[in-house]
C-alpha cells in the first residue's frame, strides 16, 4: 500500500512539474535576458486561467482552443506592458525594477478581485483525455494533458532558443548585452521578445491551471512563488535548470503532503525552505552562473 501511495504521489508530482516548468521557464527567460524578475508573471497566468474559464463557460470554446487564445491574449498584453512602462524601467535602479513589476502584480490582482470577486471557480469541462491506469495507480486525464502541454511548451522554448536565429540573438543579448549592441543587435527588441515569449507561455499555462486548479485572483501568486523556488534551484536565467528545479520541487511538495503528518498545510513553505537552503549553499542557484548575480 505504502509503495502504491509513493508511486501515485510521484506521478502526480510529475504532472504538476510540467505546469511548473512551463511557468518557471518563462520567468527565467525574462530574467536571463532583461535582468528583471517579473513579479507579475503569475498574474499573466491568472488572467490566462480566467480567460480560458470564461471562454469555455460563457462562449463554449473548448479548453484547448481557449488555451491558445489565452496565450495570444497574454502575448498582446505583455507587448502593451513592456512598451507602455517596463521598457522605461530597464535602466533604473534595482529597487525600482523590483517595485515596477510588484506594482503591476498588485494592480492586476486587485482589478481581478473587483471584476470577478475573490471567490474560487471550477471549470466544468469534461476531461480532455481518459484517465491512465497503471496497476493500482490512476492518473486523471486532465493531469496528463497538463503534463503533455507543459512539456511541449518547455520543449518548444528550448528548441526556439537553440535552433532559431531569434533564439540565438536572445542568448547573445542575455550573455553579453554590450557585445550584442556592438554586433548590431537591437537589444530592446530582444528584451521585448523575451517578454512576449514569457507572456505566451504564461497565458497557455493559465489554461492548464483552469484544467486542474481553482480559478481565482490569487492563483498566480501561489504559482509564481513556486516558480521562484524552481528558478532559485535551477539558477536564475537557466531554462535548462527550470525543468530539473520543477521536478525536484513538485516531488518534494507531494512527498511532504503525502508522508509528513499535516504536511498538506505546508503549501509553498516547502518551496521556501528549498530557496533559502539552496541559496545559502550556492548563492547563484544549483545550475546558475555568477554573471547576472
Amino acid at each position: 500500500m505504502e509503495s502504491t501511495l509513493l508511486v501515485q504521489s510521484l506521478l502526480l508530482a510529475l504532472t504538476t512539474a510540467g505546469l511548473y516548468a512551463a511557468i518557471a521557464s518563462g520567468l527565467t527567460l525574462e530574467f536571463g535576458v532583461t535582468g528583471i524578475i517579473n513579479f507579475a508573471h503569475g498574474e499573466f497566468v491568472m488572467l490566462g486561467a480566467f480567460l480560458t474559464y470564461f471562454l469555455y463557460e460563457a462562449v463554449g470554446v473548448p479548453p484547448l482552443a481557449g488555451m491558445v487564445l489565452s496565450g495570444l491574449a497574454m502575448t498582446a498584453l505583455s507587448w502593451l506592458v513592456f512598451d507602455g512602462f517596463l521598457s522605461r524601467v530597464l535602466k533604473q535602479d534595482e529597487h525600482n525594477q523590483i517595485l515596477a513589476t510588484i506594482g503591476l502584480s498588485i494592480l492586476l490582482i486587485n482589478l481581478a478581485m473587483i471584476a470577478w470577486t475573490p471567490d474560487a471557480r471550477v471549470m466544468h469541462a469534461p476531461p480532455l483525455l481518459p484517465p491512465l491506469q497503471l496497476g493500482d495507480v490512476i492518473v486523471p486525464g486532465n493531469n496528463l494533458v497538463v503534463l503533455l502541454v507543459g512539456i511541449a511548451l518547455y520543449a518548444g522554448m528550448i528548441w526556439f532558443m537553440r535552433h532559431t536565429r531569434q533564439g540565438l540573438l536572445l542568448r547573445l543579448a542575455a550573455d553579453d548585452p554590450q557585445l550584442a549592441v556592438l554586433a548590431g543587435v537591437d537589444v530592446t527588441r530582444m528584451f521585448r521578445l523575451s517578454f512576449l515569449i514569457g507572456g505566451l507561455t504564461a497565458g497557455v499555462s493559465g489554461g492548464l491551471v483552469a484544467l486542474i486548479l481553482y480559478v481565482q485572483p490569487l492563483v498566480g501568486v501561489d504559482l509564481v512563488m513556486r516558480a521562484f523556488a524552481i528558478v532559485a534551484l535551477g539558477g536564475l536565467g537557466s531554462i535548462g535548470g527550470a525543468l530539473i528545479g520543477a521536478v525536484l520541487l513538485s516531488a518534494a511538495e507531494n512527498l511532504t503532503a503525502t508522508f509528513v503528518p499535516g504536511g498538506g498545510s505546508w503549501g509553498y513553505g516547502v518551496a521556501f525552505v528549498i530557496i533559502v537552503l539552496v541559496l545559502v549553499v550556492r548563492p547563484t542557484g544549483l545550475f546558475g552562473s555568477e554573471r547576472r548575480a
Binding site: F85, R88, I98, I109, I114, F228, S265, G269, L279
Partner: protein, 322 residues
Amino acid sequence: MKTGLTRLLPYVLILLVTLALVWIDKPFWIQLAIGVAITAITALAWDILSRTGQVSLGSAAFFGIGSYTLAIFEPLIGLTLAWVAVVVVCALAATLLGLLTLRLRRMYFAIATLGFALSMQVLVVVFPDWTGGSGGIAPPVLADGDPRWQLGLIGLLLLAAVALSDTLLGLRFRPAFFMIRTKPELAAASGVPVVHMKIFAFIVSGVLIGLAGACYGGLYGYVVPTDVFTTNWSVLPLAIATLGGMDTTIGPLLGAIVLKALEEVARSVIGGTGYQVVYGAVIILFVIGMPQGIVGLLRKAGKLAGRRTATGEKKKERERHA
C-alpha cells in the same frame, strides 16, 4: 549640509501632529495616524537596510516575529521583559538572516528574503502548540486599549526611528554605507568593516520593524498569521520608501502619508475588496513619472528655481560623502 532648522522639522511635525490628534480625539484621525506611523516606521527601517545595498523583501518576517514574540513571551516573563524579548529575538533573527544572505546579490537577495518571510508564516502554521496556528494569537493590548495613548506610544517609536535614520545619515555612517552599497570591494579595501556594517544595518532595521509589529499586534490584542506575515508588510515599506525618496528620512515619512491617504480614499470609493488597486496604480505611475520619489521631485523643483546648479548639487553631494 542641511541647516539645523530643516533637520528638526520632522521631529517638530510628528510631535505637533500627534499632540494635536490626541487633543482633538477624533477616532478616525487617530486610527489613520496610527496606520501612517506604523507604516512609516517600517519604511524608515527598510530604507536604513537598503542604504547598505540590501534591497529586502523580507520585512514581513520581522513584523510578524515582533508581534508573535510579544504574545508568546508576555505570559511567561511579564510585559516589560517581553518587550525586551521582542528586541532580542528580532536582533537574533536579523543577524541570522543577514549572515545567511551576506553573499547574495541583487535579485537573489530579494528572493531569499521573500522566501524567509513566507517560510515564517508556514512555520507558525506548522507549530500550532506554540503559536496558535492559523487561528492566531493574542498579544497584550497596548496602553489598555486607549487609542490616544496607543498613538502617543507609536508616535514615540516613530520619533526614535527618525532619530536613528538621521544618525545613520550622519557623517559617521553615511560614507561607509554609501561605499558598501556602490563599491563593496573598495569599502573593504579602505578599512570599512563591510560585514559588521551590513549585519548592523540588518539588526537596526529588523528590531525597528519588529517593534512596529509588536505595537500593531497590541492595537487590538489579536493577530492571525495572514495578517502580520502577509507579503503586504514586505512590499509596503519598499513602496513607501521608494515613492517618498530613498536614502532620506523625510522621504519615507512623506511616502507613508501619501500612500495611506490614497488608501483611505480608495477604500471609501471601491470598498473592502480590491481597494489595493490604488497601490498598484500609484507604484506604476511613480516608477514611470518620478523614479527618484517625492524628495527627488522636490529637489529637482528646487534646482529649477535656480537655488542650486546641477553641478553644485553633485559637488555638495560628493562633499557630503567625503
